[in-house]
Amino acid sequence: MSIAVTRQDDVVIRFAGDSGDGMQITGNQFTDTTAKVGNDLATFPDFPAEIRAPAGTRAGVSGFQIRFSSTDIHTAGDIPDVLVAMNAAALIMNYKDVAPGGIIIANTGNFTERDLQKAKLATNPLEDGTLDGYRVIAIDINARVTEALAGSPLTSKDVLRCKNFYVLGLMYWLYSRPIEPTLEWLAAKFAKKPELADANRTALRAGYNSGDIHEVFQGRYEVVPVENAIPGTYRNIMGNHALALGLVTGAELANLKLFLGSYPITPATDILQHLAELKEFGVITCQMEDEIAGICTAIGASYAGLLGCTTTSGPGLALKTEAMGLAVMTELPLIIVDVQRAGPSTGLPTKVEQADLLQSLFGRNSDAPLPVLACATAADAFDCAVEACRIAVQYMTPVILLSDNYIANGAEPWRLPEMDKLPRFPAAQVTDPAGYAPYARDGKLARPWAVPGTPGLEHRIGGLEKENITGNVSHNPENHQLMSEIRRDKVLGVRDTIPTPEASGPREADLLVVGWGSTYGAIRSGTERLRREQNVSVAHLHLRHLWPLPYGLDEIFARYKQILVPELNMGQLSRLLQGEYPDHRFLHFGKVKGKPFTAREIREKITAVLEGKS
């Protein structure tokens, strides 16, 4: 009997299991294969902060959501069409999100009395009516994997660890994806452990074949490739990886070697890990004793003529602030990457928030202005990293680049840049002693970068206020006023080299939604759908440069009757905009639940505002 294949345009799948079940690997494999099929996609990994919470408990549930589509999409989807629940805890933590009538695939092998107890369930949700209204596919995956791997040299425990590949195979079958890319990945991954490669291959094939054999599904689905995608070469990329690549690229465009001084912290650590692999690019990575040393080595490296960079997350940014002031004072190029997470303090280290904006803008003693950028998506992280390098080098200034946990671990297809066409911005390190002064200025108010080792340019810099031009220590009150103004004006001057962003949607409308950072996808999806389906008069403006703000925003704001600012904090961008553009009113819409906005939340808020209910 042949099984019918139905075409779908847009699918959201969530894999959920215990944090030892390999859900992130399963999700990433499904993502990579889906990217190769040519769908647009977005992912949202959601894992616990504990490395291994007790197995089978609610605290240990790890999730990975992927949305893939035949059209251009911006978010990982609000509502899963399919939930794969590897155990009872994963089911109970996730089933409520699933679309009515959606598919729930449950591994009944992990719904024993003991599993129910660990998940704090009095009755079995597969049997007690909890899942009424869903299409439940109950499969004892543990048993199926054990059958498939009968005769394997692996222990029964290791055999069971292959169950995620069984599930992956099943999902490949259900959504008509090829298994070959994962077969290749397994061969490479377990090149030195062929018995593990074999077992996982067998599990993957068994899962794939089970779709036909066991007839638990009435049909299969197909999501065809995006048709009107922008031509180019694409690859799938996660935000932290894109950022690392952007930093290496930025350094090369500046004709400098990259130096990273860093300290491991979730969710920024991957950037250090990625860059540590790039020795043949001359990238120096120093894993230092603490966050302060991380930024200080970067400052020391910039002083020595390299492009210094440091990566961190919220609490680490707080520790780096004194050194940032030193970088402002000494006017050395420096990139400070902050992959924001929910705080304050340790907060929710694996959950998303965008609440370090005001710290980035103002979190230093005295007036210590520096440019602040934020990336909007995983692929955008590459461009923003290059842009941060450009500003740092051209203006001799530290720059803060804000990413967040949603971008860091989320993936999307990335249209690769034409490397030869990227604009270069070679650093102008001075070598000529004639007329050299440490605090002389160029047209951008940048001071000359004289690197130790250069004869005739011996000079002293430091945290004490410097006399204009000469760079000698100065306590002169007039000089401090002057230097403070120069530092301010230099950073404001960055506006001369950044474009005025364009709003997407109508040029004039009832409402403008202004966003920054990772809320891009939800706002873009929400506003597009409201315009398309309900003819709502709404536009979206997304800010990449948060300081200085680009020219022309005043005129843009004036074209809209109301302005809504959704952000994952208690009101930071809205407060900044209110202060900078007092003629307009900025309506803050905040969420601090450790989760990204859904497009639906954005739509509902816009509707409420336009109906005067908010």
């Binding site: 922008i230 690859r235 043949e280 200080c296 020391g300 002083y303 000494t330 080792g453 220590v473």
Partner: protein
């Protein structure tokens, strides 16, 4: 011998030196300029990096590159500078407060990593720039503005801290003996790896005479012993006394029976020499406590980059970004 021949004057900057009259820093500055003039490094390749405190004004007075940074962080900044460019001769000037309090973490890790830095730690057992509070090296009981009834903190022994952190070159000198400073700094400069040099320094204003029992010329002869490689452990006005170490105990013997000092030995004798400080009956040690050869951090970083570049070829950005996973649209 390098062709570069400087004079101490070449290493003076045009800035007026502003320490309190009588401050021990003047002698250290002069001796440092004299030493650095002789190390064969052109001045554009010398960089002095300091933290915060009286001693940390040092870079302004030196005619080479200099970086007066922030409190406690000089060792970290210098680690970045030296790793970025191992060709530079990087000197860190710091004080007991700067290095051992706020900067303690960076100090021990720079020593553990064996970054090829020369750390000069001026120890006056007091916070001078903040006007007289006890420091991590102040003796217990010291009465200061923040310890009016006597400090109850127990002090660090900087030499022991350095030895315990794995520093490959550990030495001590004193501001009252410029010749000794100079020879110690020359030995530090010749050492490949981190050099930690404690310099007893007198603060005339807030802790005058802290070292006078050991630092005056007469006291030095009787109450200190100079640890010089290959030399016998002798002291006294006429070098008539000596030290012998047996069974972990130190005893005073006639000069002829003294042990010969070897700072390259792996044995824990260096620790024993540091513990002389705690013995009233024995001289405090100056000179070179330890001198070990180990790979440097900056050298290892460079070597790893060089060998991987040789193996893989110079990184190609386009290949890095256009992976085999990429696919074509349109």
């Amino acid at each position: 011998m390098s062709a570069v021949q400087l004079t101490p004057k070449d290493l003076k900057s045009d800035q007026e030196v502003r320490w309190c009259p009588g401050c021990g820093d003047y002698a250290i500055l002069n001796a440092t300029q004299a030493a650095l003039a002789e190390i064969g490094v052109p001045r554009e390749k010398m960089t002095i990096i300091s933290g915060i405190g009286c001693s940390s004004r040092f870079p302004y007075y030196m005619g080479c590159y200099g970086f007066h940074s922030i409190h406690g962080r000089a060792a970290a900044i210098a680690t970045g500078t030296k790793t970025a460019n191992p060709d530079l001769s990087v000197w860190v000037v710091t004080g007991d407060g700067d290095a051992m309090s706020i900067g303690g973490n960076h100090l021990i890790h720079a020593m553990r990593r064996n970054v090829d830095l020369k750390i000069l730690m001026f120890n006056n057992q007091i916070y001078g720039l903040t006007k007289g509070q006890y420091s991590p090296t102040s003796p217990a009981g010291l009465k200061t503005k923040t310890s009016p009834y006597g400090s109850v903190d127990l002090p660090f022994n900087p030499i022991n801290l350095a030895l315990g952190s794995g520093a490959t070159f550990v030495a001590r000198t004193v501001d009252t003996n410029p010749k000794h400073i100079k020879s110690t700094l020359l030995a530090a400069a010749a050492h490949k790896g981190i050099a930690f040099v404690e310099i007893w320094q007198n603060c005339v204003i807030f802790n005058d005479g802290a070292w006078k029992d050991w630092s005056t010329k007469d006291a030095r002869a009787e109450r200190t012993i100079d640890l010089q490689p290959g030399q016998p452990l002798v002291f006294g006005k006429d070098n008539e006394k000596g030290l012998r170490i047996s069974g972990g105990e130190v005893e005073v013997v006639a000069a002829a029976d003294a042990d010969v000092w070897d700072p390259t030995t792996a044995a824990p004798l260096a620790y024993i020499m540091a513990y002389l400080d705690e013995r009233e009956d024995l001289p405090h040690a100056l000179g070179i406590f330890r001198q070990h050869d180990k790979p440097t951090y900056d050298g290892a970083v460079k070597e790893q980059i060089d060998s991987l570049t040789a193996k893989k070829g110079k990184g190609d950005l386009k290949k890095l970004i256009y992976t085999k996973d990429a696919w074509q649209v349109g």
